[in-house]
């Protein structure tokens, strides 16, 4: 059984390697798009950093974080954005169209998980370059901290950002799956998630009450980048285990919901191909 599981895992890794090969080849064919995506993301990063720079001209701290701490948080959210844009976003944008046009068959008839195929087929090579830029911003932000967090905590932080990317993917695909039942609305549900994701672009420490509860449990945008940043900024302060349990618990829960909902959604799907 273990051998079978390992064999299946290796098969999916080889398949993902093929996806990467195909995606890189495709990316270099459209050189203008490739270059423009890199510039676009750099502009986005500059705007995100400039926003907090302006805010901190008028306050010494925001929700208990000073400017140096906030830059670590911003770098973390940019890394999550870069990971999402690289691995998932192209696939998520196409999903509503494929459902509405009945063209999901191509993914359903393959002898692999349709969810895996649908979610990971396109890899945005240009956004991968921007991931390197975001990591550079993180290195700069970490270097400015008064106390170096240590390699172990930084590694944990990066793992938690990967986890945050998975959470964002789950929220995005759950929103897009609504198209299976509404059969309309197109990219509208994706836009709703992008709109709500702005909550995650501010430190979670500013939110309180019902809004905070919603953002940490129901629509866990605050968990995506802000919670991982607390591992570096607050250095856990005894809360590390609780934070990790919360972050990884949320991602496991939402991944389970995604898998169950996807299987349910396919029963409502009707093909348009022959």
């Amino acid at each position: 059984m273990i051998a079978e599981a390992l064999s299946t895992f290796a098969r999916y890794v080889r398949l993902y390697g093929r996806f990467l090969e195909f995606s890189f080849g495709k990316a270099f064919e459209f050189r203008f798009d490739f270059v423009m995506r890199i510039i676009m993301d750099i502009v986005y990063y500059a705007v995100a950093l400039a926003f907090f720079k302006v805010i901190y001209l008028h306050t010494p701290d925001l929700g208990g974080w000073d400017e140096r701490h906030a830059m670590v948080f911003v770098a973390g959210s940019l890394i999550v954005d870069a990971l999402n844009m690289t691995i998932f976003s192209s696939n998520m944008w196409n999903l509503p169209l494929l459902i509405n046009k009945g063209e999901l068959d191509y993914y359903l008839i393959r002898p692999v998980s349709s969810l895996f195929f649908m979610s990971l087929r396109d890899f945005a090579a240009s956004s991968f370059i921007n991931l390197l830029c975001a990591l550079g911003i993180l290195a700069w932000a970490l270097a400015r901290l008064p106390v170096w967090p240590g390699a172990g905590r930084i590694t944990l932080f990066l793992l938690c950002l990967l986890n945050g990317t998975v959470i964002f993917y789950c929220l995005n695909i759950l929103a897009n799956m609504l198209v299976f039942w509404t059969q309309g609305g197109g990219s509208g549900f994706s836009e709703i998630i992008w709109s709500l994701s702005k909550f995650g672009e501010r430190p979670d420490t500013i939110y309180r009450g019902v809004v905070r509860s919603v953002l940490t449990f129901v629509l866990p945008f605050a968990v995506i980048a802000s919670f991982p940043a607390r591992l570096i900024i607050d250095r856990g302060q005894g809360d590390t285990a609780r934070l990790l349990l919360h972050m990884f618990g949320i991602s496991i829960l939402f991944l389970t919901i995604v898998i169950l909902t996807w299987n349910r959604a396919l029963r409502s799907y009707s093909s348009a191909s022959s």
């Binding site: 459209f30 203008f32 798009d33 423009m36 995506r37 510039i39 676009m40 502009v43 986005y44 705007v47 400039a50 926003f51 302006v54 805010i55 001209l57 008028h58 306050t59 010494p60 701290d61 925001l62 929700g63 309309g184 609305g185 197109g186 509208g188 549900f189 836009e191 709703i192 709109s195 709500l196 702005k198 909550f199 501010r202 420490t205 500013i206 939110y207 309180r208 809004v211």
Partner: protein, 278 residues
Amino acid sequence: MTWTSEALGWVPQVLAIELKKALTYRVTFWIRHILGTLTELTIAYFLWEALFARAPSGPGIKTLAGYSFHGILYYYLFAALGSRVVWGSLQGSISTEIYDGSLNRYLLYPLSFSGYKCVALFAQQLIASSQLLFGLAVAISIWGIPPELTISPGGVALGLFTAMLCGLTLFLINGCLELIAFWQDTVWNLMAMLRFISSLLGGVLIPLAFFPARARQLLELTPFPSLFAFPIRCFMGQVTWIEWLRSALLLGIWAALSALLFSWLWRRGTRQYSGVGI
């Protein structure tokens, strides 16, 4: 037929078509509008509550860069709703029509492409204006009007008129980027960049009053303050007639330059455009 009766003929029809198109998916349309506005206002509420908590106390109402807490909330209300009047929903339509060949119909119709688009933009601005008025009514019923602000029917009307003019200018600027679609496979990156830059430099993300003085001076050389911060200040009754005329003149200059570039790109692009089908 005279020019006037020709114009009167197609304008109301195009307006009706565009209004119907915009309201086809009504549920998604209203969810996006209400959710988007609530999201931005909720974030602004908590962000500025945290900032004002750290602001130094003094006699009278606490202010930051001349804004009280309620003043800032109204700023973000007008930024969220007013920017929708300015943007409309046309971004991406020109490049999509070039790529899928549906530009053909505009080349065959006996009316101008830019004229059609202006009417379509106006239709979307009418809808966005009604959303703004609705949102403003809700906000006033909850928060009232802070004494330091001058929000009046005349100011709101001026703000809407100004936002529509800004929308026309932005359509031309954005249109110039979209017309690059005649020569390149994809231009959505350029439009996304315009959105990011204009949201920061136009004062949508944060009021320009919070920028350093030198940065504000440099920003005056760009169209962004005129496109977004200018109508927001009109809504809030912060613009004198002299300031309005000055900003409108700047806007006019940017509109004229963009129109010239748009026209040149259109002529060059349509010469080498080929579309399949109608």
